[in-house]
Symmetry: C2
Amino acid sequence: MKYSKLFGKTIKTTPRDVKIASHKLLYQAGFIRESAAGRFFYLPLGMMARDKMVKVIEEEMNEAGAQKILAPVLHPLELWKKTNRTESVSFELMTIKDRNGSSFALGGTAEEMMVDLVKKFSLSYRDLPFQIYQFSQKFRDEMRARGGLLRLREFLMKDGYSFHADEADFKKEYEKMKLVYSRIFDRLGLKTIIVESDNGYIGGEYCHEFIMESEVGESRYLYTDDNKYAAHEDVAKFLKDEKNADDKELPLKQVAAPRGKTMADGVKFHKLPLWRQIKDVLYVSEKGKYILAIIRGDFTVNEIKLKNLTGAIELRHATDDEIRELGSEPGFISPVGIDKKVQVVADDSLRTIKNAYGGSNKKNQDLLNINIDRDYQSGIEGDIALAQAGYLSLTGQKLLAGKGIEVGNIFQLGYHYSKKMDAKFIDKDGKEKFYYMGCYGIGVDRTLAAVVEKYHDDQGIIWPETAAPYKIHLIALGKEEKIYAEAERLYEQLQSQGVEVLYDDRTDVNAGEKFADADLIGAPYRAVVSEKSLKAGGVEVKRRGSKESEIVGMKDLEKYI
Amino acid sequence: MKYSKLFGKTIKTTPRDVKIASHKLLYQAGFIRESAAGRFFYLPLGMMARDKMVKVIEEEMNEAGAQKILAPVLHPLELWKKTNRTESVSFELMTIKDRNGSSFALGGTAEEMMVDLVKKFSLSYRDLPFQIYQFSQKFRDEMRARGGLLRLREFLMKDGYSFHADEADFKKEYEKMKLVYSRIFDRLGLKTIIVESDNGYIGGEYCHEFIMESEVGESRYLYTDDNKYAAHEDVAKFLKDEKNADDKELPLKQVAAPRGKTMADGVKFHKLPLWRQIKDVLYVSEKGKYILAIIRGDFTVNEIKLKNLTGAIELRHATDDEIRELGSEPGFISPVGIDKKVQVVADDSLRTIKNAYGGSNKKNQDLLNINIDRDYQSGIEGDIALAQAGYLSLTGQKLLAGKGIEVGNIFQLGYHYSKKMDAKFIDKDGKEKFYYMGCYGIGVDRTLAAVVEKYHDDQGIIWPETAAPYKIHLIALGKEEKIYAEAERLYEQLQSQGVEVLYDDRTDVNAGEKFADADLIGAPYRAVVSEKSLKAGGVEVKRRGSKESEIVGMKDLEKYI
């Protein structure tokens, strides 16, 4: 491609809301443009880079035995109703009705569609296992889009779905996909860490995210130095140390406590440690149900764990008015004597302490020596605590905090979808059995952004060869026609050799600008034809990001790179 | 791929609604499955065939200098409002609102999006011309989907958009695209005819369809034997022969006419030729406006021409009650004295006759010697007549009728979008000027169906190599392990040589079934490894569709094909 003909040239300025490096560079280098918030155009350079990534993913998926298919973008909504995802996906699901009155979901993932497809065939154990996958545009009605390609409302996802006779067979595939994904990201130059994560509205019992460490990422995770544990903050477990659990239970006592409303106020007033205080957080679910989360005072409630434990889909904090309507008082909420319609959810850390203190549901009145079971019952008890750096893992290793971009994820689905949709195969014994399933996703746009986040400097992008739109950025430098004739010859030679080359053929732009554009666009090699290079017997070649250049004979360039 | 592992195997039966060959064969051979009406899954074989076609189209588009980009699927609805297409596309447009209240169109074509994109850049005459194109899923809320991949509600379209400084430059591109498209279809084995057509809701002044002749197609067109004229029935022009236009006008006369309501009844009652009768068809537009189309009695009203002449988007026939409410009478409608709120649209064929006859807006009363201008005025006059086989072209050649599948189309858009969306470039003289535009579409799914319509026999599909999912269908035949070992070796050899091969490795299926499946799936070559072939020194190779087979040495197979 000749730069003079390229649609979507470089630009020096960026819109005000462009903050992170990948967004800025992909914008300035002419790879993407925003259409509406969270919905982007790919320009020719961006399209080539994305196609390169798609090719890598496709090669590795095929190599792994997965078979490429394609489902419609519009999913019959009745399928989503069968699995209850019209509710569980909540606001993120976009739906549409056609003029015959049929309703459809704009797919965010395609579990229902794939199960529906598989159900169209009478399969037996001999057809298993198999994995089908697709590249298709996905939709999520995100409240806030951000960071260019990092959090989109419309994006290309590679989503694969595997079908198995049983769990053991699935587990082999799951482990294989960990390797396949690692290889894919590796080929694209990304080092990823595999962390346990929350399955959100996908269903199933466990799943893992592939995260590339990055300051601009939104995925926070915890891991141990020995690499034996890594889990997303949403699900990370930690050791809740015993405090005074062996103490004798003392009598419950109500005391006047004219104090402020915060935990710190309680500590200050009673002169007791924070960990002995009960932290009470009152939530309201999407169904209007009150949920009181209680936890040891030095821990924090993890809302994802709380949702998973309670089955709530959305949670919000109760207002002061709502708290008072329940006969309690902001800052003085207590599980002891709370209105019966409130579901009390206790973190198991409350078993590590005795004789706790906290509010009494009355203003400026606190309770001392509160003990679980004796003074209050937990409707549900479990782990709702947020893990943090410095805590210990369940095996006693120190947890470290990481942050990064989630580029892929893999899910055990088990029988979640096959049972809800009655999808069965005929097993060896002639009996019908439910498929055991898994699913595997890669966000292509986000992976592209991750590559740019990792590979750039102040001047621009530094593409790894696997994702570079062009391998060589060829520049003709100078005024003389001869230089342009030589560059043109080299351009055609490289093209005939199958080398992807972007040729800056502009005659009205100075050397500085041409070099700056080459750096910004970030092809792995820059090749300059100038009077100087011709005198030296060829073309001056430099790797992007390197300072050294070398003169290479015109004919040898293809071999050189 | 081993057949035993292939997802989506062949099947002998078809659903009842499967009628046309491409639908039946693509279903039976395991290429596609219906999700909802007009929305299909592509199975692995179908996906490979479609990818092949995409590759051919992409190669030719790139070769033609077009640049691949991608727009979001959801188009901000405000853009469509600017060009009035929210109205003109009418029911076929699907729209959706996100949870922030923004409205979007599910794109059927992307003119607005592309103009919006181009407007994001400050371009000058030096950047022109350029063409940007994309492959993307398109949506049309068709009342009725039909024929498998022939008329879909969701489909893959290659849509290109060119931007020019002026009409002369556009015309060069338009002619070039005729060649590019012809070459694309040619590479896919399709002979297409280029016919003038209606631009529907695309806008612009002229356009052409690429049609592959086929009995199952929905595009009817007329052409002359010398190939100098070809036009879709919607727009085809013809010579309206002079009848008695030179006769003297006789006095208008009302006569009792106790006759039936049809044209034939009028002919019979008055014993006058059909062509002297005025045919009156009363329509109601989408805005509730009455439109009376009148035409010479031996011609038929073409509703597309009528829509284009009147600007109506939808037309329906008026009911008998509506006709009476207007003070007229079914079967006796007349432009003479018709209610003033009715817009009279006259076909110019009414100039070829004098002293016509027809209804009088009163039951059983006819008028004789009706003459245009003297007795009635046409609000709009033009060509609203349907061309038919046997009529003469404007240059006096006999028109022949053709029928086929529209696989592509190209449109002059002119300033239609650029003016409505205020899209300008800076010309040589430093002044801002509107872009002159064209657009170019190929329906990929429909093209795939067209290939199958053209290339099949009673046994199955006969893929041209450019679109075949696999080049070779390799069959191991017999019971002995040795045969399967040899076949396996050949399978691996071919794969390592880069030959795409589908290997039927099943051991529990007889020869007849394997041959039938090979014929159904339709790879260009069938290669059989059997005891017989091994004795003869190799593999038995047969072209799909041919009766002759040949023994080829295992090692020579790649060269042979």
